[in-house]
Structures are given as C-alpha cells and as structure tokens.
C-alpha cells in the first residue's frame, strides 16, 4: 500500500498513489473564493427541454479522466465538480443549482524539464555507443532516441493541476468563466460546444452595447459610427 507523504497536509492531493500539485491560485473554486479573473460569454441558443438528462450524459462523457498509464500526453482536460475538483462522477447532478449550471474545467499538464531531457538523452546515446561500438549516432536515430526518452520521462512527471470555474445562468444565457487566458478560453469553448452543443459568443464592449440597444429597439448603426476622439479636441472621423 502506498503511503501518503508526510509533507502533504492537504488531504485530497494524494490520489491513487500519485501526488498531485494543486495550484490553489488557479484555483479550487477559484471564482468562488478570494479574488478571481474571469471572462464572459453569451450562450447562443437555449437548452433542450430535457436538458438535465442529456447534459448529465454529455458531462459524464467529457468529464476529467486524467492520464492513462500508457499515455504520453502532456495535457489532460475535462469537467469536474465546482465543489470538489476530484469529483468527476456527476450522478447527483451536482452541476445543477437552479438557475445555474456550474462546472469546473480541469486542466492537468505535465512536462519534462529541458535539462533533464537533455541529460537522459546523452546518457541513452552513451549507452548505445558502448553497446554497439559506435563513434557516432545518425541524426535520425538520435531523434528517435529523444522521442523515446521523452515518452518514458513524461510518464514519471508530476502533473500540475489547474481548475477554472464556469457559472452559466440558464435563464439569462450569460456565462462567466474563470480565466482570461486565450488558450484556456479556446479549449474551454471547444469543450463547452462538444458537451452542450451550444456555441459561446464572447462578450466585448460592442456586443454588450448592441445587445442592449437591440432590446430597447434602438438602431445599432450609431455604434458603428463611433470614432475615438483625440484629446486636442477633435473627434477622428467627425463628418
């Protein structure tokens, strides 16, 4: 039986015999604790009538599964509970808190430090040179050796965990997502589409203005004619 390391006083970081590095700032319930950064989306479309059944199946389908033992992937993503990043079961539909659907987008990454990879490659090349009595290893074979070494080392790397909370108000179609980083937001919108079959439309100043003016029956054409002003007193593009 694998023992939990004595230095870990965070109970849930030792899972299945593996120590996970949890980035608390990342964070566990990041939107709901302390300070957080978030971007906003408008959910384009409405959920189907029986959405809870359908969404439970799809969320389970795309839940976080971590790295398979044989996998050499550097990244693993999926849904976990917003209340507990180690809960990816969703039998109790704990993602549903009317009128909200709330999930955490979990991203585990692992990598091999460049220096360590270089060292292990040199060691492997050295062994081959001795075993096969070679003075020189061709470039192609060195590349194969590097790929093989990376593949072996990545499986031993400690994953780094980050979670980003999503709060989707189904009644207003507004969604808050706990990251402003482009790559994370892109991965999130892709997984959201796969899971819910609904596209996310990013919120930005023009879109907020246009949506509100349209609701009020005001022509949005006036927005397109807005040109910035320079502070010498003239408005650029003023007729």
């Amino acid at each position: 039986m694998t023992r939990k390391p004595p230095f870990s006083n965070i109970p849930d970081t030792w899972i299945n015999g593996q120590f996970l590095y949890i980035n608390l700032n990342g964070g566990i319930m990041g939107l709901l604790r302390g300070s957080a950064s978030f971007s906003r989306y408008f959910v384009n479309g409405i959920p189907p009538e029986n959405y809870l059944d359908e969404y439970t199946n799809n969320i389970t389908r795309y839940c976080f599964r971590g790295f398979d033992e044989s996998s050499d992937a550097e990244r693993s993503i999926g849904w976990v509970s917003v209340m507990n990043i180690f809960d990816a079961a969703f039998e109790q539909r704990q993602f549903h808190m009317h009128p909200y659907l709330s999930l955490s987008f979990r991203v585990d990454t692992r990598s091999v430090p460049g220096n360590a990879l270089k060292q292990h490659c040199l060691e492997a090349e050295h062994k081959i040179k001795i075993m096969e009595r070679l003075d020189y290893i061709p470039k192609e074979r060195r590349k194969e050796l590097k790929d093989f070494t990376l593949n072996q080392l990545i499986k031993r790397a400690i994953p780094r965990t980050n979670t980003y909370d999503m709060i989707w108000n189904v009644e207003t179609s507004m969604l808050i997502f706990g990251s402003t980083a482009n790559r994370i937001c892109d991965e999130f919108t892709e997984l959201f589409y796969k899971t819910f079959d609904l596209k996310l439309f990013p919120v930005f100043p023009y879109s907020i203005a246009a949506m509100n003016l349209e609701r009020e029956g005001i022509d949005t054409g006036a927005l397109d004619s807005i040109r910035t002003f320079n502070f010498t007193g003239d408005t650029d593009g003023r007729p």
């Binding site: 808190m97 709330s102 930005f204 100043p205 807005i226």
Partner: protein, 175 residues
C-alpha cells in the same frame, strides 16, 4: 466580419468608456445615478495601463499617487486607457474591487464584499451568495456602460459631455 475583426474595429468604445469613467469619477465624486434606486460610487483606484493607439506602446502606472498625475499627463499625449483598477461601492456598503480591460471588458483580480456563507458549513449557500454578488457587479457595470453608450450616441455628447471631458483632460497639466 468575424469577432476579432469586429473587436479591432470597435476597440475605441471600451477605451473611451474607461477614460469617461475616470472623468466622471473625478468630477462627480464617483457618484453615478443609473436608476433602480441604486447608489453607485465608482473610484478609479490603483494600477492603470495606457496605450498609444499609433505605436501600441503601453505604460503602466502604479496608482500610488493619489492624483494619478503621471497617468493624467499621459492622457494629454493622447494615450488611451486599456486596463484600469476600479473600486465599485453599492449603496455605500458593498465594496468590490477589480481591474477592467477595454478590449473584452474582462474582470481581473475581482474581489466581492465579504461573504456570510461558509464553504465547510454550506457549500451550496456559498455558491449562491458568490454567484449573486458576481452577477450584481456585472449587471451594475453593464448599466454604467450602457449609460455611457446612450450618452455617446446622443447629441448631448458633442454638445456638453465631450467639451467637459476635454477640459478635464487638459486640466491634467495643472495638477
């Protein structure tokens, strides 16, 4: 036109909004009347990033100087605000702090007022309380933004607001 193209073409809206917000917060003690019986105070308070539209050079001010003199002078050089630290106080009680950016209107380093619910005792209660506070701040900032938009597309902008704004910017060299 795709989203990124639209954002680029309309980026002036967000930048002008942040300058106007600073102008209003300075000249009217930060008090904004956005209806719904809400008393909203907005203070531009802390770090601010400005950008030159032509060269795209950015400069960040720490906001330690209470008058933000350097940032005011940067406005005179036609630099635009791209990120600004904001303190939002609702009904003289609930205080939120965050940094708002002009491109996406994303909220960074967002802090809500102290919550009553405790995660250990009632995680769902905490969720509802936090979600409600976040939505409240967003709704109010959107209302303030729409107040600006309605003003910006009205004749009142050219007639009253813009001249007052330019006078305020020019007064920056005297502080």
């Amino acid at each position: 036109m795709d989203v990124l193209e639209k954002i680029e073409k309309t980026e002036a809206i967000g930048k002008d909004f942040l300058i106007w917000l600073w102008f209003r917060s300075e000249t009217r003690n930060g008090i904004l009347d956005i209806g719904d019986d809400l008393h909203v105070d907005i203070l531009i308070d802390g770090k601010m990033t400005l950008e030159n539209d032509e060269t795209r050079d950015t400069v960040t001010y720490s906001g330690n100087n209470p008058l933000m003199k350097e940032a005011r002078l940067a406005l005179l050089e036609n630099k635009k605000i791209t990120k600004s630290a904001i303190k939002l106080i609702i009904n003289e009680d609930d205080e939120y702090t965050f940094r708002l950016d002009s491109t996406w209107m994303n909220f960074r380093l967002f802090k809500t007022p102290r919550v009553i619910q405790d995660f250990k005792d009632d995680p769902e209660g905490l969720f509802y309380e936090k979600a409600g506070l976040i939505e409240k701040a967003i709704t109010i900032m959107d209302s303030v933004f729409m107040y600006f938009i309605r003003l910006r597309i009205s004749p009142e902008w050219e007639r009253d607001e813009l001249p007052a704004l330019i006078t305020w910017i020019k007064s920056g060299k005297n502080i």
